[in-house]
C-alpha cells in the first residue's frame, strides 16, 4: 500500500492550518485578506467558509497592530496564527516581534510566554522588484527568544505548523513564494519536527547547505554534479533558529567541503553564521574554504534578466562546487 499522495505546497499548508483549526479551539488565523479574499497566495482559500469570520479573521492593513494583537491574544490564552502577507511588510511589525514577542518571557522573569505563530511569504523570483523580494530570514534568526522555521518541502509545509503552534514561544515561519506551486509526495503521517535539519540527499564529496526556496536549487545542482561524477550531500536547514549545527557539521566532517546557498545578501547573513560555525567547529575537517552562493548586494531589480542575475542560481552552485573540488566548471 502506497500511503504517499501528491500535493502542492500551498494545499499542504492549507491542510495544516485547517487541521490546527479543527484540533484546537484556541487556534485562529488572522491577517490581511486571509478570509474573503482567500489569502494572497490562496493558502487560506475556503477556511472562512468552514470556520467563520471569528476564527479566520481579516485585518486592516495594520501589521504592527495585528501582530501585536496576536501577541496579546497569545498572552490571553489563545493560539493565534498571524499571517503577514510577506516578509517585506513584516518590517512594519518588527517592533512587536523583536521588542515584545521575543523579549516577554525573559523580561518578565519567565511569567509570560507568547505561544504565537507568525507565517509570512518570503523571497524573490517573480519580478516584483525591490520592495516585494526581500529574504530577511537571517534578521529574524538573529534574535533570541523566537524560533524561525523555513519549510521547503510539502511534507514540512504540512508537518511543521502543528508543532509550531504547540511551541510555548513565538515561531516565525517562512514560506518561500516560489514554493507554493511546487508539488511533492506527502506521507500519510508527515514528520512533525521543528528541531532538526534534514539530509535531503546523501553524498560524499561536498555538502550543499540550503533552506526554503534555495533547497530545490541545491537539489538540482546536486543532480548536475552527479552527472560530472561529483557526489553532493544536500542539507535542508529547516530550522533557522535555533540552528541544528550537529547535522550540518556531521555532513561537513564527512565531505570536507561546504557550499552555503542563501537568498539573502552575503553581508551579515545567515550564510555568514553557518560559515562561522563550520570554521569554529569543523575547521580541521575542511579540505577547502567554505563557499557561499548568495544574492548580489543590490535591491532586487524588476527586469527578468537582472533579477535572475541577482539571485543564487544552479550554475553558480555547480561552479562553486567545481572550484572547491579544484576543477573548473
Amino acid at each position: 500500500m502506497n500511503a504517499m499522495r501528491e500535493i502542492s505546497y500551498r494545499d499542504a499548508m492549507r491542510e495544516a492550518i485547517r487541521e490546527a483549526l479543527e484540533r484546537d479551539p484556541r487556534v485562529f488565523l488572522m491577517g490581511e485578506d486571509v478570509g474573503r479574499y482567500g489569502g494572497t497566495y490562496a493558502v487560506s482559500k475556503g477556511l472562512l467558509e468552514q470556520f467563520g469570520p471569528e476564527r479566520v479573521r481579516d485585518t486592516p492593513l495594520s501589521e504592527l497592530a495585528f501582530v501585536g494583537a496576536g501577541i496579546g491574544a497569545a498572552l490571553g490564552g489563545m493560539r493565534p496564527i498571524v499571517e503577514v502577507m510577506t516578509v517585506n511588510f513584516s518590517l512594519l511589525a518588527l517592533d512587536q516581534i523583536v521588542n515584545t514577542a521575543a523579549t516577554l518571557r525573559h523580561m518578565s522573569g519567565g511569567q509570560f510566554g507568547v505561544p504565537l505563530v507568525i507565517r509570512m511569504a518570503t523571497g524573490a523570483g517573480r519580478q516584483l522588484a525591490a520592495q516585494h523580494s526581500h529574504s530577511l530570514e537571517g534578521w529574524y534568526a538573529h534574535v533570541p527568544g523566537i524560533r524561525v522555521l523555513a519549510p521547503a518541502t510539502v511534507e514540512d509545509a504540512r508537518g511543521m505548523l502543528w508543532p509550531a503552534i504547540e511551541d510555548p514561544d513565538p515561531v516565525v515561519l517562512f514560506e518561500h513564494a516560489q514554493l507554493y506551486n511546487t508539488k511533492g509526495e506527502l506521507p500519510a503521517a508527515p514528520r512533525e519536527d521543528i528541531e532538526h535539519a534534514s539530509v535531503r540527499r546523501a553524498g560524499g564529496d561536498v555538502s550543499l547547505i540550503a533552506w526554503g526556496g534555495s533547497l530545490p536549487k541545491a537539489l538540482e545542482a546536486a543532480d548536475a554534479l552527479a552527472s560530472r561524477g561529483i557526489s553532493a550531500e544536500v542539507i535542508d536547514l529547516r530550522v533557522l533558529r535555533p540552528l541544528d549545527a550537529e547535522t550540518f557539521l556531521a555532513s561537513v566532517r564527512k565531505t570536507h567541503r561546504a557550499v552555503v546557498i542563501d537568498e539573502g545578501w552575503k553581508s551579515g547573513s545567515l550564510s555568514a553564521e553557518l560559515a562561522a560555525r563550520i570554521m569554529e567547529h569543523a575547521f580541521y575537517d575542511l579540505d577547502a574554504p567554505v563557499a557561499r552562493v548568495c544574492s548580489a548586494e543590490v535591491p532586487i531589480p524588476y527586469a527578468r534578466h537582472l533579477e535572475e542575475a541577482a539571485l543564487p542560481q544552479v550554475p553558480q552552485i555547480v561552479g562553486a562546487v567545481m572550484q572547491l573540488m579544484g576543477t573548473s566548471a
Binding site: 494583537a69 501577541i71 496579546g72 498572552l75 490564552g77 518578565s108 509570560f112 510555548p168
Partner: protein, 330 residues
C-alpha cells in the same frame, strides 16, 4: 490656563476615600525613596517617576476587577503597586534581585506579575496598545468578560501603534479601556509641539470611539471617569478612551535637566497636587484629621522601609541562570 486646584465634596464613604488617599501616598513615598536609592546607586538604569500623577492610577485601579487585565508603560511603579504587586517585589526588581517581580530581568521599566494580570511594563512608546487589543480579543473569543485597561502617555498618540490599535479595537468592538495619561510632555516635547490636533478626545472620535476627559489631578474625577469607562466597556459595546489631564512633578527620568519647562509652571501644577488637595477636601468634610493623615502616611513609609529591607536582603540571580527563560523551560 492651569485650572484651579481640585475642590468640592468627596462623594465616597470614609473607608473608600481614605483608601484612595493611602494608595496615592504609597506610590508617593515609594518613589521618593526610589529617587534617593537611585542617588545611592542602589537602583540603576532608567527610573521614571510618577510623582504628581498618582490620582490617575489610584482612581483607575479601583475601577477594575481582579479578573481584568492591565497593560502599562515604563512609568508603571504606581500601576503595579495598586494592581496588587507587592512593594517588596517591585523594589527588589529595581535592585535587580531574583526576588523581584521579574526576577531582576526587567528593572524599573519592566514590572510584570501574572497573578494580578499585570502584563507590564513596556518601554517602547505605544507598544502596549496592540498587546491590550490582543488581550481583549482573547477575552472575547474565550468568553471571559475581562476588561483590558491600557495605560499610555499622550506621547504615544504620535505613534502609528496608537492609531492602528484604536482602529482595530473599535472595528472589532473589543473590551479595552484606553487610559491616556496626558502629562503634557513627551519626555521634553510639549503636546502642542508634537500634535497638530491637541484635543485628544477628538482623535478617539475619529475612530467612532466614546471618549471622556477627566482631571487627572483629582482622584475623585479620575475614579469616576474610569468607573464609567470600565462599566461601558464591560457592557460589551466596544472600547472607550479616557484622557486624564495630569502633570509629572519630577523630571522625565533621572537624566533629565528639565530645560523644556519653567519652574513656575511646575509650581502652579504642584498647587493642584493630588494628595494635598484631596487631603484638604477630606479634612474640610470632617473625614480626616491631621493625626489620621499622619498615621496613613506613617504606614506608607513603614511599608517602604520594609520593602527596602527586603530588597537589600535580596539575592542576585546566579549568572549560571543567565539564559533561563529566553525560551520555555523544557
Amino acid at each position: 490656563m492651569i485650572a484651579a486646584p481640585p475642590s468640592g465634596p468627596v462623594p465616597y464613604a470614609r473607608e473608600f476615600a481614605l483608601g484612595l488617599l493611602a494608595d496615592m501616598l504609597r506610590i508617593r513615598r515609594l518613589e521618593e525613596r526610589c529617587a534617593q536609592l537611585y542617588g545611592e546607586m542602589k537602583i540603576r538604569g532608567f527610573l521614571h517617576l510618577y510623582i504628581g500623577e498618582e490620582a490617575v492610577a489610584a482612581g483607575a485601579m479601583r475601577a477594575l476587577a481582579p479578573e481584568d487585565s492591565v497593560v502599562a508603560t515604563y512609568r508603571e511603579h504606581g500601576h503595579a503597586l495598586l494592581r496588587g504587586v507587592s512593594m517588596n517585589a517591585i523594589l527588589a526588581e529595581m535592585y535587580g534581585r531574583r526576588e523581584g517581580c521579574s526576577r531582576g530581568r526587567g528593572g524599573s521599566m519592566h514590572l510584570f506579575d501574572a497573578s494580578t494580570r499585570f502584563f507590564g511594563g513596556h518601554a517602547i512608546v505605544g507598544a502596549g496598545l496592540p498587546l491590550a487589543v490582543g488581550l481583549a480579543l482573547a477575552s472575547r473569543m474565550l468568553g471571559e468578560g475581562r476588561v483590558t485597561a491600557c495605560f499610555f502617555g499622550e506621547g504615544a498618540i504620535a505613534e502609528g501603534a496608537f492609531h492602528e490599535s484604536m482602529n482595530l479595537a473599535a472595528l472589532w468592538k473589543l473590551p479595552v479601556a484606553f487610559f491616556c495619561e496626558n502629562n503634557l510632555y513627551a519626555m521634553g516635547t510639549a503636546l502642542a509641539r508634537s500634535e497638530s490636533q491637541t484635543d485628544l478626545c477628538v482623535k478617539a472620535a475619529a475612530f467612532g470611539m466614546p471618549a471622556m476627559r477627566a482631571d487627572g489631578m483629582d482622584v475623585v474625577a479620575a475614579h469616576e471617569a474610569a468607573k464609567r469607562a470600565v462599566a461601558k466597556v464591560r457592557e460589551g459595546a466596544g472600547p472607550v478612551f479616557v484622557e486624564f489631564q495630569t502633570y509629572r512633578f519630577r523630571a522625565h527620568s533621572m537624566f533629565d535637566p528639565e530645560l523644556y519647562r519653567d519652574k513656575a509652571e511646575v509650581q502652579r501644577w504642584k498647587a493642584r497636587g493630588p494628595i494635598h488637595t484631596f487631603s484638604a477636601r477630606l479634612k474640610a468634610q470632617g473625614m480626616l484629621t491631621e493625626e489620621q493623615f499622619a498615621e496613613i502616611d506613617r504606614q506608607a513609609m513603614e511599608e517602604v522601609r520594609r520593602a527596602v529591607e527586603f530588597a537589600e536582603a535580596g539575592t542576585p540571580e546566579p549568572v549560571a541562570d543567565l539564559l533561563l527563560d529566553v525560551c520555555a523551560r523544557r
